[in-house]
Subunit: 200 residues, 2 copies
């Protein structure tokens, strides 16, 4: 009973294609993914669970979710202390990430550094396996790993994303070189943006 309900509702989380009953899952498509996470979320939760929840939710409601919508995400899921979203192009994904981090600079000014919410964002792109519940594949995993490498308040991305956005975004892109991530046999060349609000 529960599973039927979960599955039926999860189906609607995926993009418009999911509403066509003729679609055979899983589908494969090209997409660009952002993984957004709160820096030191566990520590913030221990310091003040309620305040952390409400701060996080206000950033979601007033900044992140509107930007996700503005750049036309076709998939969105909550990861507890952040979100994962999929866009049609690397430029949409990167611009969304840049707008979120630029927006956070203004929102965080004057806040206590000890309890302030700061986001890290990872951006990747590639072939995605999508079903009614979630998105899967190597490049989805890479976005999640890149997020952990991003500077607090900043963005880390693959070389493929960097090549597609460097001229359009108009911000200095730093080359972090090759990085090995856990359980990934080949290194990933990482580029990053830093913003004024970063704590690192």
């Amino acid at each position: 009973m529960y599973i039927e309900r979960f599955t039926a509702t999860a189906r609607q989380l995926v993009d418009d294609v999911a509403n066509e009953p003729s679609v055979q899952y899983p589908i494969r498509r090209w997409g660009a993914i952002i993984a957004v996470d709160v820096v030191e979320y566990s520590r913030l939760t221990i310091v003040d669970e309620e305040q952390t929840y409400h701060q996080y939710k206000s950033h979601r409601r007033e900044l992140i979710d509107p930007k996700i919508a503005e750049f036309g995400a076709r998939f969105l899921k909550s990861t507890g202390d952040g979100i994962m979203a999929e866009f049609e192009t690397a430029l949409d994904a990167a611009r969304c990430a840049v707008h979120v981090q630029q927006g956070m600079v203004g929102r965080s000014s004057g806040e206590d550094a000890d309890t302030q919410i700061v986001f890290r964002i990872g951006v990747s792109c590639g072939r995605i396996i999508a079903d009614p519940e979630d998105i899967y594949g190597h490049d989805v995993n890479v976005a999640a790993r890149l997020q952990t490498l991003a500077p607090p308040g900043g963005i880390a991305m693959t070389e493929e994303v960097a090549d597609r956005v460097r001229d359009a975004v108009g911000l200095p892109l730093e080359d972090l070189g090759l990085h090995y991530f856990k359980n990934m046999c080949r290194p990933v060349r990482v580029f990053q943006y830093r913003f004024a609000a970063e704590a690192n």
Copy 2:
């Protein structure tokens, strides 16, 4: 537009309370959480993305999701290479975890160890903040961290869960002592179950 659809459908993922329009979110409740994850998922995805996807989904469909339903989970979400689910009692959560790992022993026999899917499960309980989208709080974070400490094919749980299930489950529970998790200032005393299929 996207956000409205996401929010409207995500609401139905949370338990029956979420269907009553009079509920004021977020709500606080006691709950027990399991975090289920695939060991070395990134490596398996690199070896064979399609095969890993289909193997994982068959374990979900034929074993995990039916067990989640059998033990009456009131919240379920996909974490990409696994799930997080919330139950009313620690015993429901622990029994669900035990049934899943026992079920995996039979399902994995004869498979190639290099491409075989093995799960780790973390179990915790405590006060939860729930809204239409997700569940939050320190004890939710602990379940995710415990999962990383569980032996492949096994279960790691907090002392509070262990105290509530040790007599009922009828399996030898090993005391792993105190563990410090990243960004958590106090150590967590961890207990574990091991099963025959474990790779470690």
